[in-house]
Symmetry: C2
């Protein structure tokens, strides 16, 4: 994550992961979810926070989830229904369950089909926020599979290249592949220049948006650094046509097709709805998985040891900082903005659940 999106040091409170996990789980239980579901939801959010993907952790999203359960717009006890199924595929009606609640089991269905037949893919409609795609894609790697996950639709955020009207959400895609000793490969990106939640984060942190990140209301890319404006559209990654925004636009369109039209609900910008897509490829259906994992180690280590360009300390590979951050945060605690900790305490009091978030050790001399 770019430096500007990190919580400023003075506002950081290091919280032990198991504490924030317990508090989050208790909140979901209070919202009416069964125990396993609450555990699942907390696992998605805390895993994201451990990976350093705080845009999809408790800070940005939990408040909104609580609001949606509170006003009855999200179903805490979804009965997921199979609409169509083959040996390798399925389309599921998520019964208005939150994506972080019903998504992981949809991915596990794709994995179980891949286990039997080499590949599996599942589309899901009528389900809420997925909490990012990375968590779901990574599930496949635990079974020596390559995971692919997409989520998108809605159509109110991103303008296509040269367009004045929005047609897509941020429509992220994640691919994950296992290695042996290196942190697994995890490529998890929005089809927009930045994830929507990062804009919220930028507003909260009071930092500026880079030139080429957003568009004016008439679709023109904003080509200077600006504070987050009240009204804007998101640009496809690339930003401008010359810098390849048609690739971000096309990526968003693929996500819309795989998540929305393939799941039967039609284009996101027409239905105003969204969907998810989960896919798993069993490695030994193609090649020896032991050799594959050794090769992946060589691949990932080779990328991380690539000579850096002037002005840079090292080359990262997709998933490396997430792996390193997870080890570090498990040790030192997760650095939340103190506002987040305050929110946990107040929601705990409001809901009548115990919330214990003691200050973790923080990085200390070793980590600095």
């Amino acid at each position: 994550m770019l430096e500007r999106f990190k919580v400023p040091e003075k506002d950081r409170v290091y919280v032990r992961p198991e504490q924030v996990r317990a508090a989050t789980e208790a909140i979901f239980q209070k919202m009416g979810l069964e125990d396993a579901g609450a555990r699942q939801c907390a696992d998605v959010l805390i895993t994201n926070d451990l990976r350093g993907v705080e845009t999809h952790g408790v800070s940005n999203m939990l408040r909104q989830y609580v609001k949606r359960y509170g006003d009855g717009s999200q179903n805490p006890r979804p009965k997921v229904r199979t609409v169509r199924e083959t040996s390798t595929t399925a389309t599921l009606d998520g019964d208005n369950g939150l994506g972080i609640h019903v998504g992981p089991d949809a991915m596990r269905l794709a994995i179980s089909k891949a286990k039997q037949h080499g590949m599996g893919a599942v589309t899901m409609f009528n389900s809420g926020h997925l909490g990012g795609c990375g968590y779901h894609a990574v599930l496949a790697t635990e079974y020596d599979m390559i995971g692919l996950c997409m989520t998108g639709g809605g159509g109110a955020s991103m303008v296509p290249t040269w367009a004045a009207e929005p047609r897509f959400g941020t429509n992220p895609v994640a691919w994950a592949a296992p290695a042996r000793n290196q942190p697994p490969f995890l490529f998890d990106v929005a089809s927009t220049q930045i994830a929507n939640n990062k804009i919220g984060l930028a507003r909260r942190l009071g930092v500026k948006l880079e030139a080429g990140w957003i568009a004016r209301q008439d679709g023109t890319p904003v080509l200077e650094e600006v504070p987050v404006p009240d009204k804007y559209y998101m640009l496809p990654f690339g930003g401008t046509r010359e810098m390849g925004s048609h690739k971000g636009y096309g990526s968003a369109a693929v996500v819309d097709i795989m998540c929305c039209t393939l799941s039967g609900i039609g284009p996101g910008f027409i239905s105003k709805k969204g969907g998810h897509f989960f896919c798993a490829f069993r490695i030994d259906a193609f090649t020896d998985p032991e050799k594959f994992k050794d090769d992946m180690d060589a691949f990932l280590e080779g990328l991380a040891k690539t000579k850096p360009a002037p002005g840079h300390e090292r080359v990262l590979y997709p998933g490396l900082s997430e792996g390193e951050e997870t080890a570090k945060r498990n040790r030192e605690g997760i650095p939340y903005h103190r506002e987040v900790v305050d929110w946990f305490k107040s929601i705990g009091a409001e809901l009548g659940i115990p919330v214990e978030l003691t200050q973790g050790t923080g990085p200390g001399p070793r980590g600095r």
Copy 2:
């Protein structure tokens, strides 16, 4: 394609597609390919030229193919061998056949597996240039399937974000999906800022490269417009980290994993080899394909009718200009640079094959 890459009007010769197709087929036959293989190879190249993707048509690539057959570095009579296979997957040894020769049948194998089981995927190693991914992905759409194709490896062209050494080729990806009346969706892009062949084209046309398209030899992005330098590296799409180059880099890494490591040859930058990946999803394994195609029409038409931003005439969707260009070029002829026509005549004389390339009608008053 950006205007700068089009053949300048004064140098254009409009050639009837069936003539250049016949000449191309005859050249491949002369190189030692069996008739069906020569027909297949010509079809890939002419289809690309008809779509306006001249970077992957006869202009850039045919000379190189002829050279490779001529010096024995490409096998004109490959016996493709199945290395591993399941009901839904296969890994193929391409026996050093050209990708445009053996690739389409690999895609058809994925299609036939999807026909039986809902999905199919095939990796292929030991095979040459694929002629772009779009042609192969589109094959799936003729069977009411969604097609995915990737090709990559080698590792001598693209520097990862912040890296001073190259680790990837241009590693393109294509997704294709059928519609009913609209030209099919075809998203076909390199993981670099521009396709490698476009740099050759820019050199031939004498046009400049945009800021942020290439890197210096030390990996630093070149942030001003420049003529094509003798030595350079390609940048991942996005160009700089702030503009999302980690997305292009990650996309290249996914392609390398699916084409190289999954096919068993290991990472492209280590083996110095490349591979291909072909995948098909049968639409009716997820949803009603008739509704899907109607929805795709609404999706694609909706995108094309989106209000354009100031300064732009209209919004394109991925595949629209390719569809329109195909209709136009079938009518008017394909606009080749006169050098290309001259080359066809000289190679025809050299190989002793008849090459008839008469000037087509050109756009005429209607098309201008």
